[in-house]
Symmetry: C2
Subunit: 427 residues, 2 copies
């Protein structure tokens, strides 16, 4: 039976989960995969933590050099996170001819070209299923499950923290700030939540997934990004009354016009499979030219789900000697002949505050008309104490730049109307 030695860099949440899965399933993998996977070494500065997980003292390495020079280590698992040290360690492992399995979305998003070059030079494998959507095998699906298709659209709920916060806001009617605090208390959000709530984490993943789906490098810098920190309880409640659920979506589309990539909160029609993806669950809804709609759903984070993706990559690496890389183009930036669409099409939800005077509504709808924006639904709410009236409008599909221009024009209507919220709608 083939024996495979693994080293784990970092025994945090995911590293600990990976260690636990590998040690508890050794006999299972011998029996079902005909491979003996052994943890040969871990790199963890907190030796107490390593010992608490049951790692024997002689398997705790002191530095990366010990690991990359160890002939018993075939596969290096990078789960330390961050970019600088992770990049250095991964390159050291690849340069030593070790196969690398990583969960590091920021690293892979920013440096895939450098890592793939090093891997190919040494004929080492490079796997990154765990970098996107936890245990859900979305990368394997894009590479080996729906690769017969031209993917035209990919809509994902790929950040668990924000989905947890938006689910709580929806179910409890609480404010963003309250729900963020609750998420932090439960460990779903970091003390500094910026990476999650402002959409950076989702954008790193979207860069990786859309590069695979569209067969070209889609750099982070091309992704339109807007977070959820400005979302109000009122908007969630009004959207729900209109039949929509608010989600932080990562959207990638490809058409004749080019590639469109964006991360932003959006209303999803109830009944759409994505609308019922709640709490910290994640999902990716793909559309291919032959397969039609496919959705993958599961846990996007956590020690064991993410560990499942890492160990599935380890087994794949141990049982395949070819197809070791993605089909990324080996570049840092986008191909010069790849076009990107920034004036994308969408339906929109808008909340305005207007003076309660005759003729205002006519002036507002005239602005929309001038910008070719047609209204599906208009909901005038009871006047506030200051006499102003909240107005909620949902539009047909139109263009982002038309909406921005219309909003600027309405805000300039001599103080009679103000656009408080603009959210996109997926129909």
């Amino acid at each position: 039976m083939k024996k495979v030695g693994v080293a784990i860099l970092g025994l945090g949440v995911v590293g600990g989960g990976t260690y636990q899965i590998l040690t508890q399933h050794r006999e299972f993998y011998q029996r079902t995969q005909n491979v003996d996977i052994v943890v040969e070494s871990v790199l963890e500065l907190n030796r107490e933590r390593a010992r608490a997980l049951g790692v024997p003292s002689d398997k705790i390495a002191s530095n990366i050099a010990e690991i990359v020079s160890d002939p018993d280590v075939n596969i290096v698992v990078e789960v330390i996170g961050g970019v600088d040290a992770a990049r250095e360690y991964v390159l050291a492992a690849l340069n030593a001819g070790k196969t690398v399995v990583t969960s590091n979305k920021e690293l892979f998003c920013k440096y895939s070209h450098e890592l793939e070059r090093a891997a190919k030079r040494q004929n080492a494998g490079l796997y990154f299923e765990a970098s996107c959507v936890g245990g859900v095998p979305i990368i394997r699906t894009l590479l080996d499950g729906v690769q017969a298709n031209e993917i035209t659209s990919m809509i994902g709920i790929i950040n668990g923290t924000t989905n947890y916060i938006l689910t709580r806001m929806n179910e409890e009617g609480s404010s963003y700030e309250e729900c963020l605090k609750e998420a932090q208390r439960l460990g779903y959000a970091e003390a500094d939540p910026t990476a999650d709530v402002e959409g950076y984490d989702a954008a790193y993943k979207l860069s990786i997934l859309s590069s695979l789906a569209f067969h070209t490098k889609v750099p982070f810098s091309k992704i339109f990004r807007e977070g959820i920190s400005g979302v109000s309880a009122e908007d969630i409640a009004d959207g729900r009354a209109l039949g929509y659920m608010l989600k932080l979506l990562a959207i990638g589309k490809q058409s004749e016009a080019g590639i469109e990539v964006r991360v932003h909160p959006a209303f999803v029609r109830k009944g759409h499979p994505l609308a019922s993806v709640n709490d910290s669950f994640n999902a990716v809804f793909l559309t291919g030219d032959s397969v039609g709609d496919v959705m993958l759903y599961g846990r996007g984070a956590g020690a064991l789900p993410t560990g499942s993706a890492i160990v599935s990559d380890i087994i794949y690496a141990a049982t395949h000697t070819e197809n070791k890389y993605s089909t990324f183009k080996n570049t840092a930036g986008a191909d010069k002949d790849t076009k990107f669409v920034s004036d994308f099409k969408s339906a929109y939800y808008m909340r305005l505050t207007v003076e309660d005077r005759p003729g205002i509504l006519a002036r507002i709808t005239a602005v929309f008309g001038k910008h070719n924006i047609s209204i599906v639904e208009l909901m005038q709410k009871p006047a506030c104490e200051d006499g102003k009236v909240p107005l909620v409008i949902v539009t047909h599909e139109t263009r982002e730049l038309s909406v921005r221009a219309a909003v600027a024009r309405i805000n300039a209507l001599e103080g009679v109307a103000h656009v408080d919220t603009v959210l996109r709608v997926v129909t």
Copy 2:
């Protein structure tokens, strides 16, 4: 660039879709997969049909021998369906060293051992993603996406015909017979619908999927099977009032006690991801010991979705020279040390008709009590014209054999009560 020659056996719905995908995407696969896939030959007795699809006359073979002796053919796609001819042709192709891609669930369910033996002997590949759940890459996911897990449970809606009929019954309140006729008119059901509505099709697929998930051969004969032809509009309406949707489920579970495999209609709690899988859509809800819950959703049938699975297998075969087979054990029947559970656990929905007399309810609940069945919900409906009262009962989780015994006892209560329906409930 590697060139791969394909022959397609049968140009029916799926064969036609496969031909169309391959010819329209040739340049796309050259660019994205670095492989040139060419349809070298088709076997279709209806030459008119082949020509209507655009197949050049010189590519229409007259018999299987022409194809298996053609050195330009590397991969043979079997999409003729049925068992006898398909088995003969697939074996001929494998014996000639050709890789086979098939969508034939009945063939693979019944003869996987024979086909895999022939494939291994010749070092030919054998792929069958299209045999289960159309374009949804469930087999690739089991083999290469969640293989780090011990799968404990798999619940699928894996037959589009019955899901279409049940969705219509639910939405329109119509009878089984009316909805079956509508499905036949729309081409979702065959003139003889037995294979679909009695659960044979789902059971073939469950045999294949559970063999992969549980790493042992799960023969068709071990699957408990009950179809939807006895389902009434009343049961669907009453279940819905209680918060459930009726689905034909294929369930596979593995525990210390053994493997449990069954196909039957069952109520699914609203809010469960499977409850909103409607029309001809399919889904498989997996639970793994590390990954937790994962669901794959998509189109379970149709020319292009199933063609997507076939062509994804062709590309996989063309770009991988190893991992050509499943991990099925190479046997016709179950391993002798595999245990199967027939007295499975479930919650139950029952509809009874009882005489409107004092004391009846006490006698019925006493029977349940004696068989260790506890009741979650009891709904007494208005009396019918004949004075009898319909009673709907939902139980806590109990055992199949206890329910059967209790039903026999209630039916023997001297004509005072009769159990009209027993349906299982997934909570």
